[in-house]
Symmetry: C2
Subunit: 391 residues, 2 copies
């Protein structure tokens, strides 16, 4: 079948704050071919990713994303990889292209799964999808007491693992960080898996990060995530050498599969975190999962948005039984809930399972989306390049 249309929908909460909460807006992608419709989601600034789709060509290696996608044939998984490879050449100098392409690539897998009557994980070569143990992904509270309550609530909601990140962590004194960590552990209880996300706060300052290692050991943290800039592999490797009990986690910034491999090989992380909405979609994420297996590193999804994005992000490692945990945003904005009519809910074991239905197995809630739709228009060279399409 031939890709007939790719439509991008910018959704937003009425008010967007500067909290580290990535669920405040979304860029949804609808792809149509024959009688099928696939949906995907970009993890990126919606307006900028729309611009990357429609912008006028700058030269042969700086073409808009649309140029490599519209009209292409998609009949089997290899076709999706081929479009991705041609895009990498045609849009080589358009940095944002990979974020835009990510959502389209996801939608193409959804479309192809519907056409071939298979869930995406089977198209990726997995026999079955194993249940994952979701960790409740949330921001640190502004006070230790608030963090304690957040972790206690997550535990009471059935989560056996919790991640606290961003907020005040790493921005104040060692004592303040210690108080936050102890509060998180207290709220979660002694048995739960506690994960800590530093949100790149130390840039490439290894000593600042190393000072927190004893605190992290004290609360038996399962990992320290993104202590440094996403490309600071040398700093990651040096800190990994100095942290015997707390492995590092990172990789969410990867915008191609090479970068996902590098955070493993050069950065020496114990957990590689891939966002399908950034790395170029499900195909490149699967390549990183394969590489992680070959290196004895654990693959984890990075997801902070809708359950469509969540389903997409689980597919690349759904068949890897030993790679057990997954990110699961616990307090997303209403927007993110309203995008989907079906959700991946915790079962009695506190686990989630991928849908067995075709494609990504998530039913989209078009009516739910409508109230968040942002009217958007881009004009250049005397033409309307983009105007919010009909939902």
């Amino acid at each position: 079948m031939k890709i007939e249309s790719v439509d991008l929908f910018y959704l937003s909460m009425p008010i967007v704050t500067d909290a580290g909460d990535g669920s405040q807006d979304a860029l949804m992608v609808r792809v149509r071919a024959d009688e099928f419709t696939g949906w995907g989601e970009c993890e990126a600034s919606p307006l900028t990713s729309i611009a990357a789709f429609v912008c006028p060509m700058s030269h042969g290696a700086c073409q808009p994303v649309a140029a490599s996608v519209l009209g292409q044939r998609v009949d089997d998984p290899k076709n999706i990889g081929r479009i991705g490879a041609s895009l990498a050449l045609n849009s080589m100098d358009l940095l944002q292209a990979m974020h835009t392409w990510s959502g389209i690539e996801i939608a193409l897998w959804d479309l192809l799964g519907k056409k071939l009557q298979e869930p995406v994980y089977r198209l990726l070569g997995y026999e079955r999808a194993y249940p994952k143990l979701p960790y409740a992904s949330q921001l640190f509270g502004s006070t230790p007491q608030e963090t304690l309550e957040l972790c206690r609530n997550a535990k009471q909601a059935g989560f056996k693992a919790v991640k606290c990140g961003w907020g005040p962590f790493g921005r104040g004194s060692l004592k303040e960080d210690a108080d936050q960590l102890i509060a998180a552990r207290e709220g979660l209880g002694p048995d739960g898996t506690l994960l800590i996300d530093a949100g790149q706060i130390w840039g490439e300052d290894i000593e600042a990060a190393a000072l927190r290692i004893p605190l992290l050991e004290q609360v038996s943290a399962g990992w320290l995530e993104e202590p440094f800039h996403g490309s600071a592999y040398e700093a990651y490797a040096k800190l990994a050498d100095r942290s015997r009990h707390v492995p590092l986690a990172g990789g969410e910034a990867s915008h191609n599969s090479f970068m996902g491999r590098h955070v493993i090989d050069y950065g020496k992380v114990g957990f590689v975190q891939i966002d399908c909405g950034r790395i170029g979609g499900i195909g490149p994420a699967k390549q990183v999962a394969d590489h992680a297996v070959s290196r004895g590193v654990t693959y984890v999804n990075h997801t902070f948005t809708s359950h469509l994005a969540l389903s997409a992000s689980l597919q690349p490692y759904s068949g890897l039984q030993a790679h057990r945990i997954c990110e699961y945003p616990i307090t997303p904005q209403p927007l993110v809930r309203d995008i989907c009519a079906t959700h991946l809910k915790l079962d009695r074991n506190g686990e989630i399972s991928l849908p067995e239905s075709t494609g990504l197995g998530i039913e989209i809630n078009v009516e739910g989306m409508r109230k968040y739709l942002v009217d958007t228009e881009l004009k250049a060279k005397g033409k309307v390049l983009y105007r919010t399409p009909q939902l």
Copy 2:
């Protein structure tokens, strides 16, 4: 002084083709503070980079570039680095941000140089700027005969070094590539430095690239540039090990200083090529130049646009006498010539020198730009976010 305004101007040739010619459009940046005006240039898709400047905030780590720049103080070089560091956190999840910031950063150095009455290279800590030996940077001809004539013309124009890239190279047979290389050498003559740019054509296929090494040795090529995807460091390193006489060159895709360092440390290139219009400007480029010196690798600019961009791209290694060659586009589109009133011309030795005047030392030709100005408008959330400003 306080940054009062940042204005972005999208310029374009009336017709843009899919040739690998990056001089067909441009995004110029004008920064104003006190009575001073600085100019910079982004090497990127203009519409997408404008969107990254004005887009609505998605969350605290996905803010528009404008949020980290407008109203900030710039009184010494450290302030520029500080704005860059805050942008790296505030716009962490906005991939295009670094391309947009690059042009602004360049304009801030120009501005600061004018305010402090110094050329930029002195603000970077260099005592003097050494002349560079420009290589004529051009595309392969569509036939060997055309390539021969292009190289002969470059030689006759006074160039002692020539680079041929893109076009048919690597896309056809080994024999066709051999014919192109032999023609280039013939046109340039036996003494000139011949550089070859593969434009990432082999992805990460080491064998395909290795097949061309004997041909490159035969014509005494000075380097093989970008055989692979910009992030395929493993492939670079493996090819470098197999190519004893022809060093590799790469790094133009780097969009932070880490990546520039990685292409040296992991990719084992002999020449690191940095585009100031992509890496985050002059400051991060200087960091890569320092790293190159420490590793015995030669730094080279990557520039295919105006002489404002050329001046910016030379500053980071202007004080490094041994890093002698520089990229010099020989057949740019008229747009690129008309942006500047002053140009860096070849002297009687076939060398170019940075201007000794303040800032980047390039006089902007506002009238020249005007005829290429693209009327552009971005609207979202009921607001006009961008409309082409007054030149």
